[in-house]
Symmetry: C2
Subunit: 379 residues, 2 copies
């Protein structure tokens, strides 16, 4: 029996899951998408053993379809069609299709070869939260995730519950690579505590999974997202309002006690325009040779001087207005600092420091949900 | 003495020449741009031994400046500035600059190290022609240039003069890689014959030079371009209306007698919608595995059937309306055919053929300035 689907719907569903597939995978079945019909329409699933993405397309007629075909090739076929409807029919393990004058077959693999990833989650560990809040937690911390393989437990975002000063429960994300740290909180809706209560251990969401989830959520999400966490089997499920679903395995490890590296006391602080600081850093590093990007920041009361320290290719200096409580000279890696500033949603940055060797805290003026720490560079 | 220049003007001038520099060049001086002031303003020059690009920016004050500094770094500095004016000063071989609060130095190399490329051309070999015509010749043939190193004389566009059927003199460009050939003519203005008279040997403009020139000319040029050819020293100069100039060395070789591979007589012909044919080829090859893209085209009077021949990944079939004078089955490489069709500026393609093993001629209906040949694939 055949299933008729709108080409644009199916194209969008296939594109969203194919983005999560490794392009060159030696294991053929991991490059496949499973296309399966059910009572509600068609489900398209990709699975890389660590992440399973499912998207849905409404089907105009029912029908029994369950095949696994190469994902990028199915996406190419759908991209090449300018017709309205496509009819899909399973021929054994292959997928036969017809759309206007265009017909064809994509050879598939046995669906039994598709890796199984259990999709059952305890109801007590499920909550619903605004997708925009989760997006901020992921996007504002992903930039600080380590790519160093030896400390594998830093290769993800540590998601955990914590109480805010107001007493409200928040979902907090933290990531660090040892040079910089970024922590974003988002208040959870009242009653939504099952998955991320402070008494429950947090989980480390891998860098790749966080990226996939951000792509599925999109840049300006509306509505809620359902989050289920299974600490025992070390995986989470994220279910979007449109039925799209991501199940991801956690990194199996213990996240370090990041709280100790965020200092509480400072002897100096300064306020700087975020865009002005970004421009100054980009200008000064533009003369640098190769990958070096160490700059010296000199706070002297009313001006922040920014200048090169590595003078292989040339040197550069500029200054921007600031209000600093204490003069100081600090060396920083401009690339790390720019990455942090880029995700900060504020006009003015508050910089807190004590001396030239201690950690520096960055926060948006009037925004206490994002905390960033950068370690100075000895100069 | 210092020279003051508009930042946006200098940024555009530096960007245009830096695009022609090899990014990773072991010879440092070839990664540099020469910045030199003269009576009319500032000239920015890059030189990779085979091509020399010069762009100009008006200077607000005169001044003696002549330095060679790393091109990509100067481009980065200018990209990072949001100020109006930059002041440039030579400090020995280094370039000092100041713009608002921003100041700096870029270390340079001795200008004497910049390779010299003679810029003198015989006036008798100089002509002025519409930039749009030259653009068509380059863009519509560059896609067929061979990248195979052994037949190095095919690694460029053969530019030469030839008389059209009307008796008018045209500049003709030809390129081929053995699988496909593309030839574009453009009528030269009356009296403009010095550089490309049929009695003078043509020249082979290297693939890279043609790409650089196309980039300088831009997608929709207006006005004329001055072309000078020096067959003896095997180089040409192209001078745009805005003063931008490219001097390129030719490939030192003899272009094969391409005229013999363009057949004159055919026993069959067909007319096909260009977009429909492109869509059909893209659809059919979308199921193909890897790089294979051989398709079978079956002309049967009123329909052109397009289908896969390599069935590793699946198979596909579609059909489009056509009017063919003689039924035939021909195998073609769909990638080559798509590349040719993509540059054809016509709604309807006229296809001329004799048998399944001879060359196929493609022309836009009503356009006799572009001729394309594709060799069939044995199936």
């Amino acid at each position: 029996m055949s299933v008729a689907v709108n080409v644009a719907d199916l194209r969008a569903a296939v594109r969203a899951v194919v983005a999560g597939i490794e392009r060159r995978n030696d294991i053929q079945i991991l490059g496949c998408v499973q296309v399966k019909s059910d009572a509600d329409g068609i489900a398209v699933t990709a699975n890389d053993m660590d992440n399973k993405i499912t998207t849905r397309a409404p089907a105009q007629t029912g029908g029994a379809l369950d095949v696994a075909v190469p994902g990028s090739r199915l996406a190419r076929v759908l991209a090449a069609l300018d017709t309205e409807t496509i009819t899909l029919t399973a021929k054994g393990k292959d997928l036969e299709f017809a759309s206007g004058d265009a017909t064809g077959i994509l050879y598939g693999l046995p669906v039994d070869d598709v890796p199984v990833m259990s999709a059952s989650f305890p109801a007590s560990r499920t909550l619903s939260m605004p997708a925009a809040g989760l997006r901020a937690v992921l996007a504002n911390t992903l930039i600080a995730v380590s790519t160093e393989k030896t400390r594998y437990y830093l290769n993800g975002i540590y998601l955990h519950g914590r109480f805010m000063a107001s007493g409200a429960l928040a979902l907090s994300g933290v990531a660090t690579d040892g040079h910089k740290l970024s922590q974003q909180d988002t208040t959870l809706p009242e009653g939504a505590h099952g998955a991320f209560h402070p008494s429950v251990l947090g989980c480390i969401l891998p860098r790749k999974s966080a990226g996939l989830l951000l792509r599925l959520i999109g840049p300006s999400p509306v509505g809620d997202i359902e989050v289920s966490v299974d600490q025992v089997r070390a995986k989470a499920r994220f279910r979007l309002a449109d039925g799209t679903e991501l199940i991801s395995k956690f990194i199996d490890g213990v996240y370090p006690d990041y709280y100790r590296v965020i200092p509480r006391e400072f002897t100096g602080n300064a306020k700087i325009g975020r865009r002005e600081l970004l421009s100054a850093l980009r200008f000064v590093t533009s003369v640098c040779h190769g990958n070096s990007s160490t700059v010296l920041m000199r706070f002297d009361g009313t001006r922040l001087g920014v200048m090169t320290k590595n003078e292989e290719g040339g040197h550069a200096y500029t200054a921007i207005p600031t209000v600093a409580s204490k003069p100081i000279e600090i060396g920083v890696n401009a690339k790390h600092l720019c990455v942090l500033l880029a995700v900060m949603d504020a006009e003015v940055v508050v910089v807190r420091y004590s001396d030239a060797s201690g950690p520096i805290l960055l926060q948006g003026d009037g925004n206490d949900t994002l905390r960033q720490v950068i370690m100075p560079v000895r100069i």
